[in-house]
Symmetry: C2
Subunit: 185 residues, 2 copies
């Protein structure tokens, strides 16, 4: 299994659909790393061009990797160990392509329901067949349209029982990992 | 569909398996309310006996229900609208029993893998048949053993691809709601 996740902080939209860079959120690191580790994700990339935000990520990781947190909670150390930093999406693509010696299939989720969405079962089959896959998640009000336009396939939005489609990125990531990689019981 | 969630802050365990009351976490309110609203949950109960913690919950709800947040993000207002406060588990059981005019089937998750766990598919069938169901989630290092012992059935732990079983309660709740109530695509 060759699956990576990336959480994109730039370029994303704000509530007025303007392109911005969003701030890193501590619980986005923890929750998605823990879910990633649960489901066997290779790396979880935090993509931000901002030096102060990268420094914040490094400080959080240091606390849990080698600082007080490392002894306090070894499970957290293990989960956060899959996190890597990237300056931008181009660098992210280079890094995963070098790692797998092949450009992975890049998937993304969008709140809009795309016409040619890749069904979760199809994506699951692709992953189990050994295809490298990189899944992008947006922050803020979602990834910039130009970024979404260049991914290989979009995944369908998470549908519940109505038309409320406003999950946190932490919840959406957990559900998507379970749909793609979870035990079917 | 008659499904409620409850997040238990007392009685729960700390890392040394002692019984404690845990602190309310802002993102537990937001993330689980948004997931609950997505999947058609009736109410999401925050169970804590501590007056200061109840006051914190009220202030957060007020901000998003009638304060600045209500105008800033109507989707958040809608999600947080399903939250209710309860002093303790006994009061919780009374409230949901009165609401559904019947005591619901009480389900809980535990990190341990119980022998007689109710499979997610069976629980899903039960819910779709119209049975009232209350799902308990623990905070801290999990619900107290005496509380787990009195629920009707335990759900299996979320299994990923290995033996790492340390999801956040926010991620676990999202995955469990999707397994029980999500669209099967």
């Amino acid at each position: 299994m060759q699956v990576d996740l990336a959480l994109i902080h730039y370029p994303v939209c704000n509530r007025n659909r303007e392109i911005i860079g969003s701030a890193v959120t501590n619980l986005d690191l923890h929750d998605i790393a823990r879910a990633g580790r649960t489901f066997g994700i290779d790396n979880y990339y935090i993509v931000t061009p901002f030096a102060d935000q990268q420094q914040l990520v490094r400080e959080i990781l240091e606390h849990w990797q080698t600082g007080y947190g490392a002894g306090y909670n070894v499970h957290r150390k293990e989960a956060l160990g899959i996190i890597r930093l990237c300056d931008d999406v181009a660098g992210l693509y280079e890094e995963v392509t070098a790692k797998w010696r092949k450009r992975p299939i890049v998937l993304a989720t969008s709140a809009a329901d795309p016409e040619n969405a890749l069904a979760y079962d199809e994506a699951r089959t692709m992953i189990l067949a050994g295809e490298p896959v990189l899944i992008l998640f947006g922050t803020g009000w979602g990834m910039a349209p130009e970024l979404l336009a260049e991914v290989d396939r979009l995944l369908p939005p998470i549908i519940g029982t109505g038309n409320y489609n406003h999950l946190s990125v932490r919840s959406a990531a957990a559900i998507i990992l379970d749909r793609l990689l979870g035990d079917r019981c």
